[in-house]
Symmetry: C2
Subunit: 324 residues, 2 copies
């Protein structure tokens, strides 16, 4: 099954998710739906897709709670994007000028908070404390990951282990919770819950690794955000860690100079990308990502073969095969 088929199996549910997203960011304070609407376009909806498939895979088929939780996860994710853009002073997000540049940092912070509060109300209405617990723990971990990243800027000596710890919190936690909540919804066995949670964590880690690669090798305009922002923002990701640890003394000096000044004008940026090619840092990172995907899929061998098992495995493949 390819990712296009996954989307077609989920088509009805995904349409409902889109409707739920639009419905739930409504407010009589007009700036809120304006910014939310502006930002909600262009998302890949990976977290909703994980929830929808997990819940179906575990047998959920009588209600619309999977739609509600999909909307919750997407709101939590979108709130993070809004708050991140304030941190990163981002200029492009999901292919458009970032909200903070268009409406100011204040609006980005507040609309993020609005989406968080809405997601909380929606969860309160579903009335399952366990789902609330796992989503809130995921939110906490995401923040911890972001703070860890923020407090290690321009640090070329960060270890691969520390970096993996950061992305497990920052990105993998919400994908893990999304998969788990799908199982919770289906009142699934706790072993299935744990399996799906592990699957989501590994897929999420791979997802971030690929994202970090895209920041170096994507064609401008394709990934919906700027290329080369990680260096500018002092984010030392795996391609850079690998490069720095494997480069010659001389090359390390050039890298240090570029990273420390944060000057990523075309010439400097191309130099870094060339070095990454020379030392196979991109390949190394992609191999790591593929390794996590392989492990994620191995987690799922306890599930019987089914349409939705094939679908979730296909999502895993898509994570490392996607081109944006």
């Amino acid at each position: 099954m390819d990712f296009g088929e996954v989307l077609s199996i989920l088509k009805d549910d995904l349409n409902k998710v889109e409707a739920s997203i639009k419905e739930n960011f409504q407010s009589d304070v007009v700036l809120i739906p304006t910014i939310s609407n502006y930002l909600s376009n262009g998302g890949k909806r990976i977290r909703p897709i994980l929830i929808l498939i997990s819940s179906r895979l575990c047998g959920y088929n009588n209600g619309n709670k999977h739609i509600t939780y999909s909307c919750v996860a997407e709101f939590i994710h979108t709130a993070t994007l809004l708050h991140d853009d304030v941190l990163d002073e981002a200029e492009i997000r999901r292919g458009n000028p970032a909200a903070n540049l268009r409406w100011g940092n204040g609006a980005s912070v507040l609309v993020g908070d609005f989406l968080l509060s809405r997601s909380l109300t929606m969860m309160a209405e579903v009335k399952d404390p366990r789902a609330i617990f796992y989503f809130s723990e995921a939110s906490r971990k995401m923040v911890e990951g972001e703070v860890l990243e923020l407090t290690n800027p321009f640090n070329l000596n960060i270890t691969e282990e520390k970096y993996i710890d950061i992305i497990k919190r920052k990105t993998a936690a919400l994908m893990s919770a999304s998969c788990r909540v799908g199982a919770i919804l289906a009142k699934s066995l706790s072993t299935e819950e744990d399996t799906l949670s592990n699957f989501g964590a590994k897929v999420g880690t791979a997802f971030q690794l690929v994202d970090d690669v895209f920041d170096y090798i994507s064609e401008e305009g394709k990934i919906g955000k700027q290329v080369g922002k990680d260096i500018t923002n002092g984010k030392i990701t795996l391609p850079m860690i690998h490069l720095y640890n494997n480069a010659s003394q001389e090359d390390r000096k050039s890298i240090e100079e570029i990273v420390k000044t944060g000057n990523t004008q075309k010439e400097n940026f191309n130099k870094i990308v060339d070095l990454m090619k020379k030392y196979h840092s991109i390949d190394y990172t992609m191999d790591k990502a593929r390794g996590y995907i392989r492990e994620a899929k191995e987690e799922m061998t306890s599930f019987k073969d089914s349409l939705y098992l094939n679908a979730i495995l296909s999502v895993a493949d898509y994570i490392v095969e996607r081109d944006m």
Copy 2:
């Protein structure tokens, strides 16, 4: 009963709230407890006080959920302060340099998010969807109030009605929810719940009116934040609305000039304060606040006389009598 006696009745509970606050902002990411600890000192703990008294008043006496919810409300409030400081570029908060100046906007946004996620986990552990619902609705209203304020900067033509709508959302909503949650905790009658919710909303409105007055008339250093920031930030509050609506043509021109340039150097600021005295704008605002406190207390006549009834009425009085 005076406010000192209220604090002494609640002493044990308030100590537990302090311990709970410190315990719940722990994280292996050290910057998080550092900032949380820095910020948690100096708070008046009005929302915890309202929860503690409301729960006791309605008969709650078997457990520690009132402590948990007090911590939740204080975390939601503190998160708002952190996020507000990013919006306002605040320099002083709770008597110390604001967190955003010391650690940067990013850290303020993220630690605010951390406290929100922690408050959510704590609520999930108590497992009462109704409390979660009311706290999340309060959070939503707070954000809406902030966004309304943000989208009306330097607008001298804002009506008193619109301003009251803003502060009802921005400040009163969380105090209202705090009082209601106390009643929910005691499995109280729904009429008592509504009464306490109305009481909290009115007390909260008065609280903000008094805060807005303090921004003009406090001695520097006393209120734990800067004086005169509202004009600089373009926040048109009731003293200013009253002044502008009642001033002579000539005085209105001076006001417009000062407000539009946002220049609140001592001379300009003193001019505004003198005009507020001339036109009794401070008295007008304080009278409004006292009116809300009167109404709040009238709400409570359905409760039988008791220690905790006296305590909550004393809190209401304190709101308009406090000097910080």
